[in-house]
Symmetry: C2
Subunit: 433 residues, 2 copies
């Protein structure tokens, strides 16, 4: 077996929503209020809906772009690979990189639909969430049931509506929903309340896995105003560490023993440490804090409830038994700046090539199939699913890195970092993910 024999399912890629997305899914009664793409003062293509704007930030769509043209400017659709927003081109880009299937997170609504949560008229906001999900499930993922795993966004402001939407889209075969790694940072009740219980109950009932992408709290760690962007970008996975620690001590799994959570773009190398630490602290402190997880240690809860993923993470693979081999998944992060596209199989092979074949199959695709109730082999024979077979179907795709005519970023580390922080705090995709 070698890199070309891998069958790859990426559990964290991103769709840049096309301007036409709502056309077939928007309710007639709100016809004049349909979300639109407009050109901003700075010349970028941005979404506008009910007075709220959301730019596509440059770093969010850099597949195929030379690194010195990465920047934080609002970007035009003409400055991206069409694979960012056109599903047919997306699938061709996936084939060219030897990747069978992907789970695509939203861009303009932010990682868990924060954008729609800011719309004042909640009736039209709910209409937008439903239209978004119908587009994503029926039109985007639905076009290639063997290649795209459907993912819904929630109407974040109302757990009852969230539960209803989970049940509605589950009936269409959607078994993944994106939610916040820390709703408290969004000004919503935390995991330590029962506020979200109707939502979690629906997820358990419908076998829907809750995906928590880094940045879905709209809060990023930073150290100092002058720190270069690399500091903030390096720290993004720590959002996942904070989230699992928070959730493990929340008691939510006592109420929902069936709840399954996938950490998206959090990496895995830090997990053994975080689990040991949580166990140590629980053992040393629960006698005075009164925290009660029953007879279960935090690390045991983790292995029962969490799914993880990585892009490139040798230390985590080395420690895979401690991380939880049956729950480790892989991601490509197309078209973001941390992506390994178009050399994903070769890059992944460096980390997992030496493992037993059973471990490789779990990490490359088997665990993802289990996490998201997704079966590509029902649509496509396994022998046509390897990197080699897929690449053979897409030999005409141009994968060379070439200028997209973007402005070079100003080389002022502090100013760049400040812009990055501003982008993140508005709930847009943070740089590097």
């Amino acid at each position: 077996m070698d890199a070309e024999d891998l069958i790859l399912i990426s559990v964290d890629d991103h769709v840049v929503e096309p301007p036409t997305m709502f056309r077939e899914h928007w309710p007639a009664k709100y016809a004049d209020r349909i979300p639109k793409v407009v050109v901003s003062e700075e010349g970028g293509d941005i979404w506008e809906f009910e007075g709220q704007r959301a730019p596509n930030v440059g770093l969010n769509a850099v597949a195929g772009c030379p690194p010195d043209e990465y920047n934080l400017d609002p970007t035009q659709f003409t400055q991206m690979r069409p694979g960012c927003f056109d599903v047919h081109e997306r699938v061709r880009d996936m084939s060219a990189a030897g990747v069978l299937a992907g789970l695509n997170f939203p861009t303009f609504p932010h990682f868990c639909g924060q954008y729609f949560g800011r719309i004042d008229d909640k009736d039209v906001a709910l209409a937008a969430v439903r239209a978004y999900n119908d587009w994503h499930i029926d039109e985007w993922a639905g076009a290639y049931p063997d290649r795209l795993i459907p993912l819904s966004i929630p109407p974040l402001w109302d757990p009852g509506l969230m539960a209803g939407e989970i049940r509605r889209v589950a009936a269409k075969g959607c078994h993944a929903v994106t939610f916040s790694e820390n709703p408290s940072k969004l000004g919503l009740p935390s995991y330590h309340t029962d506020f979200w219980d109707p939502f979690f109950a629906a997820c358990v009932d419908e076998a829907v896995t809750v995906c928590l992408h880094i940045g879905s709290s709209s809060a990023m760690l930073s150290t100092a105003p002058e720190a270069p962007p690399e500091v903030m970008i390096s720290l993004t996975p720590i959002n996942s560490l904070m989230a699992i620690t928070d959730i493990l001590f929340s008691g939510v799994f006592t109420r929902f023993p069936g709840l399954q959570i996938a950490m998206s773009e959090g990496g895995i190398g830090w997990i053994p440490y975080a689990l040991e630490r949580a166990d140590y602290v629980y053992e040393h402190h629960h006698a005075w804090t009164g925290t009660d997880l029953g007879d279960t240690r935090p690390s045991e809860l983790f292995h029962e409830h969490f799914w993880t993923c990585f892009i490139d993470d040798a230390a985590g693979i080395e420690a895979r038994e401690r991380v939880g081999l049956d729950h480790i998944m892989w991601e490509m992060d197309y078209p973001h700046s941390d992506s390994t596209w178009p050399h994903a199989p070769e890059q992944l092979w460096k980390a997992i090539g030496g493992l037993p074949e059973g471990d490789i199959q779990k990490i490359s695709h088997r665990n993802a199939m289990a996490a998201f109730s997704f079966d590509p082999f029902a649509h496509r024979p396994a022998e046509q699913c390897t990197a080699e077979a897929l690449r053979a179907e897409a030999t005409d795709v141009d994968i060379t890195i070439k200028s997209m005519g973007r402005r070079k970023a100003d080389a002022d580390a502090g100013a760049l970092a400040a812009r990055l922080a501003a982008v993140a705090s508005k709930g847009a995709a943070p740089s590097g993910d």
Copy 2:
């Protein structure tokens, strides 16, 4: 070889300063302004100096105390083991736990002297810092040169004064200084400025290792107001992860290739991941950010400049080559709540007992000797330094856990966590370290 054959140097313990500490070291001209211990309204013993108060928080002195008596109340000296504040009893407690030597961080001045930085009259504040260091070096550590590694605190408000103090105490044989993991969070210039250069220059000149203890930024990570204390306590080592990421990208090592930094109480299991992540981000992003570390990757800088330590960290030991075997040290954390006292050798043995003997010697004491220019064997033959030999000298020390008559904490998770955050933000020791 077994647990009792270990030679143990702990690079992170804590002294609760005795009320008499300034008596022999305070300058006559400020006689009426000497810092004093007074009894607070709530009945705790607290330090008072120039109108600033600093309590000894309960969690900071719990060695020998049953866990259900841990709390956040200001504590009296009579509610602690004398080993917290009496150097002779401290050394007896160390012997009873089989520990040869320790490096003791301050308590009431906070981890890097933040308390003295808040005193308005900087002349009397500098007098206090110098008196503190004279007491610590001459009277506390000086009483047992084979058992205690001297550590100075800096006059944080002035890098020129800091440099002078480094040179003054180095002449007395002190090769360790405590500083802030993130001065930016203290309202001071960050590592990304040249503000601290005189201080770093003096440390390099005098072979002084800079110790950054978790909490020395007076800023702790938290997730949500209702999260139980375990969440914040579990996240304390992430302060170290943030600090190394921040410092690696600061350029400070380009200016000071000889600078040595010890991360105190940060743990080690997360290090392989943090280094891989920093390298990956640097490689993917420096072309647009303009960050320039020369030909050196962040992970290479780490291995040249950082020393690490752990209490109980099986994943980190397993990954010791990635962490950096020549720079891993061990700590007991006496008398804090995460301490393994009095069973330190047995607890450590579980993690390192299976390693090659050379690795064990490095981790248990050899690396600490190198990091702090400390040679206990100049004072005491090695065969009298083992856990077994030391315990034989202290068979009369009572190490049983017994009530210290402390109040039980109120079992309200959110209220406890809020108090913990308040304690941490004032610069006092955060819970759990």
